[in-house]
Amino acid sequence: MGRRPTRDRRPLSARDKKEERAGFAFLSPWLVGLFVITIGPMAASLYLSFTDYSFLDSPEWIGLENYQRLFSDTRFHQAIGVTFRYVIVSVPLQLVVALLVAIVLDRGIRGLALYRSAFYLPSLIGGSVAIAILWRQIFGADGLVNWALALIGIEGRSWIANPDTALGTLIVLNVWTFGAPMIIFLAGLRQIPAMYYEAAGVDGAGVLRRFWNVTVPILTPIIFFNLILQLIGAFQAFTQAFIISGGSGAPSDSTLFYTLYLYMEGFGNFSMGYASAMAWVLVVIIGAFTLINFIASKYWVFYDD
């Protein structure tokens, strides 16, 4: 967040203009992508959010009706509740696990590259169909978890089928895919100069003290970066719930993520206008959360420059 240099507004010479054109020419693949794949559809969805659009008929302008409907739609409220619970529990948990594993790996153990890859692996398969099967094997009535519980004499139940615990299994899944933030933490840890630790050691700081007073403060920009990324990702979580619940938010809407409901309304229920309105509300929610975090970051993020 450096200061932006003031721009010099002198008129462009012919050569400058030519260079400018060349610049845009080089940018064009990206610009085409931006306008055709991002901004165009976004504008279309903003328009559609004010219409009744069933996919098969042409859209019909209904003003704010879609947005008003959100207030009385109990399933939408359920989706909001599920999503917030998921975000609030899984994001901090995932960051803590990622940081702890990164610290362990940063100790310079042998075969670091192997471990790093092994821990990253779940992030690659976290959204695949194989996970749906694996998760049933682990959290089903006859799954691995209950097998382990039976060894110590506890009779488990079907964690994935029960509406009280189904969301928990998805949170565990998200925490398990901590590879990406871990890699970023690891890179951040590598950049902390050893002399800080040495100085702290000379002053008599123990392991915990060094962690809280050296590692954490220097790492705050990285933590902040990971927090924002994971927060946005968690709000948009879709794949895991879609695959594990078979696209229905089952059991009993307990895994009905925001995006899953949006998708069901749009593609299952032919309510594209309503789904578009939901998408824009989600944009506002994510934007608000990000903004709040940026404001709050002034009080806890420490930039060492």
């Binding site: 695949s128 009535a141 990702g233 299952g268």
Partner: protein, 428 residues
């Protein structure tokens, strides 16, 4: 590095997982060699039979090219909606009863009576009504007929020492008693059949219907719905599966569920699925008429249901549409083709074709055939037309709210209020 965002994207593609079975061929236009795009929901048996049918048809009509695209059920409807919205629907569409009017009333489907070459002379009124709108437009022809009834695992009955009921006279209290007796032998008694298909006969038994006449609201009262939910709770006390078991069952294919693996004595099923369920459970199975209030099977409110409808897009060019019409005719009237499918979609609706293929059917399929034939003669309930627009989500509402009730999170009457409101929201 934005891995989370990438997740979302790869997830999207995984969701739209599509098996394109036919290789790409150059598409001929109006030069007398039409290319017909054909979409269906896939399963291994289905795909093999349809591809064989396509091959036979193309051998007979060398000028026509059929390009098939098979998509699993869940993704199929998303894909069909997207293709339709993009103005590029397939010419030939496999339709479900649930979505027939959704598409038909938005003028996405052609009236099959207006298409030449589809010979309907062997189809009775009842059969055609399954794919017809209330104003008589024929949007689809069923690939098979089935009925939603009870299936009994005969081997488990024997092991439990329980006699098979006389299904022409049994009542609901017999049903609970038998379920409880089966459960005493350490298995699950009878399943709930949660949803539209088992509610339908219950409503008939109480003189009500699923939807009102113009399809804009539920046709049943909160009292009768409450009685249905209380019936489910009674079954829960009498050998029905636990809520956890219901929830786990819902997530796996029928062949992998409790009944399909021989751990449950009775379950609700489409008659057409018995041919797959019996070998999966490695047991002898029988279809049973639904219990009634009065002890008369004719008053049990059973009805016929069409499956795997053949429909044509209303937006095709004339040549592909005509060729697609010929293909439908082939699929419903050629014994040679229907042979490929056997009873996979239920009893073929053309009686002449049934006579031709009957001798080669497995004993289980012959049992299903006899059952449905007998039922057809004794049906006292009018065959309902296709479900109204917006009905596609109704089954989901039942699954969600009834499961909650089975978990003890609401009484029958609270749940009934909730379901009724949700159903009316969908239809309104």
């Amino acid at each position: 590095m934005y891995p989370t965002r990438r997740h979302v994207l790869t997830g999207g593609t995984a969701a739209a997982l599509v098996a394109t079975l036919a290789s790409c061929r150059s598409s001929g236009d109006s030069d007398g060699s039409p290319t017909v795009d054909y979409a269906w929901w896939s399963s291994p048996e289905n795909d093999a039979a349809i591809l064989a049918a396509i091959e036979k048809f193309e051998a007979d009509h060398p000028e026509v090219t059929l390009e098939g695209e098979a998509t699993p059920w869940d993704g199929y409807w998303d894909k069909l909606a997207t293709m339709s919205a993009g103005g590029n629907p397939p010419d030939l569409i496999q339709m479900s009863e649930r979505y027939l009017l959704e598409y038909g009333q938005r003028e996405a489907l052609a009236d099959l009576r207006s298409v030449d070459d589809i010979d309907l002379s062997n189809f009775d009124e009842e059969t055609l009504r399954l794919g017809e709108s209330s104003d008589g437009v024929l949007y689809g022809i069923p690939g098979g007929l089935s009925t939603f009834v009870l299936a009994a695992n005969v081997d488990l009955f024997a092991q439990a020492g329980v006699d098979l009921p006389d299904d022409t006279t049994w009542t609901w209290s017999d049903f609970y008693e038998i379920s409880a007796a089966l459960a005493d032998s350490g298995i699950v008694g009878a399943g709930y059949g949660i949803g539209i298909e088992s509610l339908h006969p219950w409503l008939r038994q109480h003189g009500e219907t699923m939807y009102n006449a113009d399809g804009t609201a539920a046709g049943f009262s909160v009292e009768v719905l409450t009685s249905y939910l209380e019936h489910l709770l009674t079954l829960q006390e009498n050998g029905g599966p636990t809520a956890d078991q219901v929830s786990e069952d819902a997530a796996v294919p029928a062949e992998a569920g409790l009944f399909g693996t021989g751990e449950q004595g009775m379950d609700w099923a489409y008659s057409s699925t018995l041919g797959d369920l019996a070998p999966a459970a490695d047991a002898e199975m029988r279809l049973l008429c639904i219990p009634s209030q009065t002890g008369k099977a004719a008053e049990a409110g059973m009805y016929l249901k069409g499956s795997a409808f053949h429909s044509l897009s209303a937006h095709s060019d004339p040549e592909p549409q005509a060729a697609a019409g010929q293909f439908i005719d082939f699929m419903i009237n050629s014994a040679d083709i229907v042979q490929e499918f056997g009873m996979f979609f239920g009893v073929p609706p053309n009686p002449d074709v049934v006579d031709a293929i009957a001798p080669d059917l497995t004993p289980m399929d012959q049992h299903v055939l006899e059952f449905v034939d007998e039922l057809r003669e004794n049906l006292t309930t009018d065959t309902p037309g296709p479900s109204p627009s917006g009905a596609g989500n109704v089954q989901g509402i039942f699954e969600r709210d009834v499961l909650d009730m089975l978990y003890g999170r609401g009484t029958a009457s609270e749940t009934a209020e909730k379901i009724l409101e949700a159903v009316n929201n969908e239809l309104g």
